[in-house]
Symmetry: C2
């Protein structure tokens, strides 16, 4: 009864989401404290108290028809101005409100950007491992996601050579995700400059711009003082997709924005098209109350030190058990090598009530993703299970 496209999608639906649902079922069966659900990137840190206060203040101080009414499909002008000013202050950019389009989270923003750019058959390149939804988002507009092989030998950094070779006349955009889901690594300025150089050269060769879509829901989650470069400063044809899901722990609220800078080729046209795309894809506009609330909290962020504590603990414990892990510098994911096929390993882990997502869901078999946005206590409780897993594979030193 359903469309052909959806048939494939329902069958091969999100492994992450399926595991999240399974985790809830297992928790009901075995008790919540006996299931170690590392599946979903659902923040475990409370939103800053300022968010709740801002929501209540917005409700109290404004006309409810302003707070809950329609506005320009790109968002409230006042909110967009505040976002632009905040970015300019933080990153030395020079955006104005018109460069900002408020979106239904980063997922909404990416779909708006792709609807704006893609003709059927256009190619969008990304580096493996990558957030599995990119494939679906690109497919929504009959584009083709080209996933470059994982650069395992160089710590999963983006490989500019591989990028250059993969670009064809059909390449319309590339998507980078920094800090990265699922590896937790942060692309450095050097990485970004190398990518930008390739894109500049290839855009010139092909006589058409290749857009760089920077998916940045994890921007505020970086550790050890690592710098997360702001990409519009390195490459003019950059579209930034941001979300408050992780920075303010509001994933359910679906609030984020796109940045389309004046420097981008066809900026005016892109902004007009993105405004229309936001409307006709059915978003219409980003949720209104939440737009007004986050605009009051642009200088806040959730307590990242809690994730940092989890990161240090888990990385330390797992490596000392003999597991090989990519050391995360950002986001809240740990990418761990599996001693056998990642799906088989994930199933073995599940027997011990450890829910770990196979790397093949991210285009990178041989690893699992461990989302450590969980209670510290759950990490501690889960260690014996990890130890048993390590012993099962003879990894313990």
């Amino acid at each position: 009864m359903i469309s052909d496209k959806m048939k494939d999608l329902v069958c091969g639906s999100s492994v992450v989401r399926a595991m999240f649902e399974e985790g809830k079922n297992m928790a009901a069966k075995y008790g919540k404290e006996n299931v170690y659900d590392y599946s979903l990137g659902n923040p475990s840190v409370n939103p800053p108290i300022e968010v709740t206060e801002a929501i209540k203040r917005v409700l109290t101080e404004n006309d409810p028809m302003y707070v809950h009414g329609y506005m320009n499909n790109s968002g409230y002008e006042a909110v967009r101005d505040k976002v632009a000013k905040s970015l300019n202050k933080r990153f030395g950019t020079s955006f104005s409100g018109k460069n900002i389009l408020m979106t239904v989270g980063a997922a909404g923003g990416l779909n708006v950007a792709l609807k704006t750019l893609l003709n059927p058959g256009d190619e969008v390149i990304t580096f493996s491992p990558y957030f599995g939804e990119y494939k679906n988002y690109v497919s929504n507009f009959d584009g083709k996601l080209i996933a470059l092989p994982p650069n395992e030998t160089d710590g999963f950094r983006p490989d500019p050579e591989a990028l250059a070779q993969a670009i064809t006349a059909k390449t319309r955009a590339i998507i980078v995700n920094n800090p990265n889901n699922p590896t937790g690594i942060v692309y450095s300025e050097k990485d970004i400059i190398a990518i930008a150089d390739v894109l500049k050269k290839k855009s010139e060769e092909h006589g058409a711009p290749i857009y760089l879509i920077s998916d940045e829901p994890y921007r505020e989650l970086a550790y050890d003082g690592v710098d997360v470069p702001y990409l519009t400063k390195y490459y003019d044809n950059t579209i930034v997709g941001y979300s408050f899901s992780k920075s303010l722990s509001l994933p359910g609220e679906r609030i984020g924005y796109l940045v389309i800078p004046d420097e981008a080729d066809g900026s005016e046209e892109l902004l007009a098209a993105a405004n229309v795309a936001n409307r006709i894809l059915g978003f219409v506009n980003a949720p209104s109350l939440m737009q007004l609330a986050v605009a009051e909290c642009l200088d806040c962020k959730a307590a990242v030190d809690i994730y940092d504590k989890n990161r240090i603990k888990l990385y330390g414990e797992l490596t000392s058990m003999g597991f090989t892990c990519v050391k995360p510098e950002g986001a809240f994911y740990l990418f761990m090598k599996t001693p056998e096929d990642d799906k088989a390993f994930s199933n073995e882990a599940k027997k011990l009530h450890l829910l770990l997502v196979p790397g093949s869901s991210f285009g990178c078999p041989g690893y699992v993703r461990i989302a450590y946005c969980v209670d510290y206590d759950m990490i501690v409780r889960s260690l014996p299970a990890f130890k048993e897993l390590s012993a099962h594979y003879g990894l313990s030193k």
Copy 2:
């Protein structure tokens, strides 16, 4: 720089939205009190006080990670259960929570339903005049909207004969909008039975179900005690799209739901696909706080008597000035015949600072839509301009 599809869309973008933006500019230029903006269906009645109270209560009484976190892509189970129970109580249906999928407004819901159903080239039939966005929503999935000619002689009621003739082997769904935007009429039980009979017969003939998508954002806005039939009771293969935008005056919040009943062919498959479609279209889930808040307000509605007062006043005044109007029974739109080409008439009206949307935007030239979800005072202030317009066309008796 933008995709070919978007090029056409940006050029022919929403007349309603363009007029809404123009109205804001005119208000800045001439003063808000001197512009009579009847363009957009933006509720003019405050949300019930219960909504603000519910939002504050939800924030106060729950764990913020529950309130703002991820949940099943179809929505909170508790919210879906409450919606199902409320519908059962009101309409004698027998839904359970699993039949409900919380969506980013009705626009989000329609896109989810269409993504679920349509293969490229599939046809979706609707009755003119129709909400212009249907065309864009269907086109998002490479379907084709077939708009039946306006049934002007029979008060814009749906013509079952015309429907029967338009159905082909490619017809996958029809969309009805009741109460209707832009005519304000309400399809009666008789109308609905006639439609259902055609769909049953044709589904059987073609050996495949034709789904009836009922777009119901105006359900609670009905006047003079008119009954708005609940369509799942008349036709099994019905998918209902609902929104709280008008009933609770929350259009900016993007909150609504789909109903996919057990009786629908392939119900389980449809529900699973709609869940995935909601995720991958980039909605992910309906905004979380708002889900929890509206679930507390299912028995509330905005003060419809205010719209009713506007309706009576405007219909009375305009007809007495010699204009020919469809008498609205629901929604907050008045559909008025134009004495010349509707676009020319709309421009003439604009000179008098009256913003009226040409019927051709709804597939029905020769009319304008007047959205009377405005301040009563604005209606009163606008009457001299309408009078002048009437005199200009020599309509005054």
